[in-house]
């Protein structure tokens, strides 16, 4: 058998986005020996793309803001399907985590009196998003990266984890390969933190980067961990729809937060017609009132263009169905008529550039064309709201791969602060767990050799399937059958297609060598992607109602029977079991906050 590079850590953190970095920093500052692994180079993780801002009730722009208000907005945005305790911890700790980022050198935009500025965003009742132009993710990731480097954390870049290893019922490490050489690497660890991010790449149209193939959901589930809320995938209402090469690329919600308005092909501001019952009275009724809000009139209510993402995405789809779509099948997003050219260029510099360079559109003079794009996974690994422990001993999860905070729909800006709050907690409690273990972590030879065989199989396959062909078909399958609007027939077709794709994935053949071979990487990614896709489809089938980001054509309304349950997807033999479980009950005093 070939030689294995081997490392032993107290805490192994898989993923170097915001959540993974924050976890690693915390574990290192608790004195743990930490190893940090990522599929790409350090500083390139998907978090780098985040644009609009990071939500925290600092109260710098609206002093009335409070953690209670942030908690309420988060719960209502999630249609109360959130894990209340996670939202509670989150809203209370977010401001501290943002201030800490500033202490570590992040340079946020300022208010006139010199404090961190905060912008308006969908679903937040006050200006709550601390921002760095429209490059907040870059600033956050770079700041965390600097801290990690400064603390001397060992980083294994361009290293892809293939399997988690188990010692009996507990997780004891992971095995993977280095992209550059194709060599195998073994990590033994007393505790493992999964911070592998989302799954947007399961869909054809997505704002997500290359890495977001949903590995973590599958890795955890195969190791025995519960997944919850897998049916809730956020489609962001404003992705680019033209030209073809950039379809899905995100147009930040900051455009609307800063005054941009949505219009259909007839030039109507259609969002006034789509305010849901739950939010009636909280949004402007007329264009005139919306204009006053834009001018800073405190008595005016915010425009309905800033409703939650699920609502806006569905409204754009509906306008299209009724024949009022723009030439490339979306809606217009117009900031040119609302703000000066200088304002737009200083507040939204990368949007300006993105449209100018990729679509030949000058957003200071013309409208953008936008439509829904797969953006964020609310569901994921079930975790303890305080410790981020999964249901498997020794395994922790944080960031987009963990579930509970956002319920059925996430508010913009709530992810970046989620990464910090729960990344830190995961790092802390993983270290505590590691400190309680006695002796060296044990890696099981049989599991190791099985993983190595699996990884080499595509080179020895006699099959004729190309890895990229199966990938393309998977992404089309999910887009078509388990997309924004679902129905039982479609989802079942999707599941059948997934099962055929699994067979095909088993027949994939890879050419070339093991050095930096994207065909090989894709071939090995497919089984994980298919596992995750199946979990999504199964949960989507069970929730026979529409709520938040999950829309069932046959059940257009929300149903009380589903208002207090999570669907748990659990590995069972070669397949999955889907179990309905009650949500944790909110205590009375907390309940009052959301009513």
């Amino acid at each position: 058998m070939e030689e294995l590079q081997s490392y032993t850590y107290d805490v192994l953190v898989i993923g170097a986005g915001g959540a993974g970095l924050r976890a690693a920093i915390e574990a290192a500052s608790q004195g743990a020996r930490v190893g940090l692994v990522s599929k790409s180079l350090l500083g390139k993780a998907h978090t780098v793309m985040a644009e609009g801002g990071i939500a925290a009730a600092l109260g710098n722009v609206h002093s009335e803001d409070s953690w209670q208000a942030h908690f309420r907005d988060t719960m209502r945005g999630g249609k109360l399907l959130n894990n209340w305790r996670m939202a509670h911890v989150y809203a209370q700790e977010a401001p501290e985590r943002v201030m800490e980022l500033e202490r570590w050198g992040a340079v946020f935009d300022r208010t006139p009196d010199g404090k961190i500025s905060q912008r308006a965003f969908g679903g937040h009742s006050y200006n709550r998003l601390a921002h760095v132009g429209d490059r907040t993710g870059l600033e956050m990731l770079r700041t965390l990266q600097d801290q990690a480097v400064y603390r001397g954390i060992e980083v294994h870049m361009e290293c892809i984890i293939h399997t988690l290893l188990r010692d009996g019922a507990r997780v004891s490490g992971a095995i993977g390969r280095l992209r550059a050489t194709g060599g195998f690497v073994l990590f033994k660890a007393r505790a493992v933190v999964l911070a592998t991010g989302g799954l947007g790449r399961l869909y054809k149209i997505t704002s997500n980067s290359w890495e977001c193939t949903g590995d973590g959901f599958a890795l955890a589930s195969l190791a025995g961990a519960d997944l919850i809320d897998m049916e809730f995938i956020q489609f962001h209402p404003t992705g680019m729809v033209w030209p073809p090469g950039v379809i899905g690329l995100l147009v930040t919600e900051g455009v609307r937060g800063d005054g941009g308005v949505l219009k259909n092909s007839r030039g109507e501001r259609f969002m006034f017609r789509y305010v849901p019952e739950m939010f009636k009275g909280e949004y402007a009724d007329t264009e005139e009132e919306a204009q006053r809000w834009l001018k800073g009139d405190g008595a005016a209510r915010r425009p309905p263009d800033l409703l939650t993402r699920d609502v806006v995405a569905k409204a754009i789809m509906q306008e299209g169905r009724e024949g009022r779509a723009t030439p490339h099948g979306g809606a217009y997003l117009d900031i040119a008529s609302q703000r000066s050219s200088d304002f737009i260029k200083s507040r939204l510099p990368s949007m300006y550039r993105q449209f100018k360079e990729l679509a030949n559109v000058d957003i200071t003079r013309e409208s953008m064309e936008v439509g829904p794009t797969c953006h964020y996974m609310m569901g994921g690994i079930r975790v303890d709201p305080e410790t981020q422990a999964t249901t498997v001993d020794g395994l922790y999860a944080a960031g987009e791969v963990a579930a509970g905070l956002h319920g059925s729909n996430r508010l913009g800006g709530n992810s970046l602060s989620d990464l910090l709050v729960f990344g830190k907690r995961a790092g802390l409690y993983a270290t505590e767990h590691a400190n309680k273990q006695r002796g060296e972590p044990v890696a099981d030879e049989a599991q190791i050799s099985q993983a190595m065989q699996e990884m080499l199989a595509p080179f020895q396959s006699s099959g004729e399937e190309g890895p990229f062909d199966v990938l393309r078909d998977l992404r089309e399958t999910m887009q078509q059958y388990v997309g924004i609007i679902r129905n039982e027939g479609d989802v079942k077709k999707g599941l059948e297609a997934i099962s055929r794709l699994k067979d095909r994935a088993g027949r994939v053949r890879v050419t070339g060598t093991r050095e930096y071979n994207p065909g090989w990487d894709t071939a090995l990614q497919l089984p994980l992607m298919l596992t995750t896709a199946e979990a999504v489809a199964l949960a989507a089938l069970e929730r026979r109602e529409s709520r938040g980001a999950h829309t069932r054509e046959e059940y257009p309304g929300s149903d009380d029977a589903f208002s207090k349950v999570n669907f748990v997807v659990r590995r069972s033999g070669e397949g999955f079991l889907v179990v309905k479980e009650p949500l944790p009950e909110m205590p009375q005093d907390i309940k009052k906050l959301v009513e």
């Binding site: 790409s40 998907h46 202490r103 010199g114 760095v132 690329l249 994207p518």
Partner: protein
């Protein structure tokens, strides 16, 4: 219409160009074409990319001899009558095909003295105080500036020069309104700032439009001069937190 691509295939041992024909679509960028080739003609064609939106800085290569981000280079800006040549950036060793080993940059980064805030200061400042550091913090670490700088590219002085990217980084930290230390000794003695002779090639390729030479290197060169010949000005600068 079809375009012809000549793409470097090979590894640290050497290699050569391979030709591919790719149908061109409206709005297509070079990275789209590379992906098309990878999907249909050469599954093992190695290329590094993450965001395809000009935000992560992963996809640098030399397109028709010019270092650029492949995801931000539109096909309609290239003369398609001739083959489009794509070569990995030349200053760093090739791993395979279009992917280079940029680990040297990560090692250099570890040596830059970190952000060091002063004690007890009030963390308030005006937007105009952060324009400069913000310009530098836009850096997406594509390392294209490192690639073109002749000190690294032609003279391979990697042991004595940290390159424009890290001069920018040091400048960004030094000009942070709360930073309390000076990096001039580092820049002079370890950074090799004196080796830069202001050719501005780095500024020309920066996809983030950072004025590397004018806004970062020249002011830092002045600081180095000040600190070694005029310590009063250093003190003044720290007190007023400007410039």
């Amino acid at each position: 219409m079809d375009a012809t691509f000549r793409i470097f295939r090979g590894n640290s041992q050497g290699g050569g160009y391979q030709e591919f024909l790719v149908p061109v679509e409206e709005g297509m960028v070079v990275l789209d074409a590379v992906h098309r080739i990878q999907e249909h003609q050469a599954n093992d064609l190695a290329v590094r990319w993450n965001c395809k939106a000009g935000k992560c800085g992963s996809c640098g290569a030399e397109v028709n001899g010019k270092p650029r981000l492949m995801c931000m280079t539109r096909m309609d800006q290239l003369p398609l009558e001739e083959p489009v040549t794509i070569h990995p950036v030349r200053t760093f060793p090739v791993i395979r095909d279009l992917v280079c080993d940029v680990s040297w940059n990560y090692e250099v980064n570890k040596r830059v003295p970190p952000f060091t805030p002063g004690e007890g200061d009030l963390w308030r400042w005006q937007q105009k105080d952060i324009e400069r550091p913000r310009e530098f913090r836009k850096c997406i670490e594509c390392f294209l500036c490192q690639t073109v700088c002749h000190v690294l590219r032609t003279h391979d002085q990697k042991s004595s020069f940290i390159g424009p990217r890290f001069l920018v980084r040091a400048a960004g930290l030094d000009m942070h309104p709360m930073d309390s230390i000076s990096r001039t000794r580092f820049l002079k003695e370890e950074g090799g700032i004196g080796l830069c002779n202001i050719t501005k090639c780095c500024t020309e390729v920066c996809p983030e439009d950072i004025h590397i030479t004018d806004d970062a290197i020249i002011p830092m060169k002045e600081r180095v001069a000040d600190d070694f010949y005029d310590p009063v000005r250093w003190l003044l600068r720290k007190i007023t937190r400007r410039g």
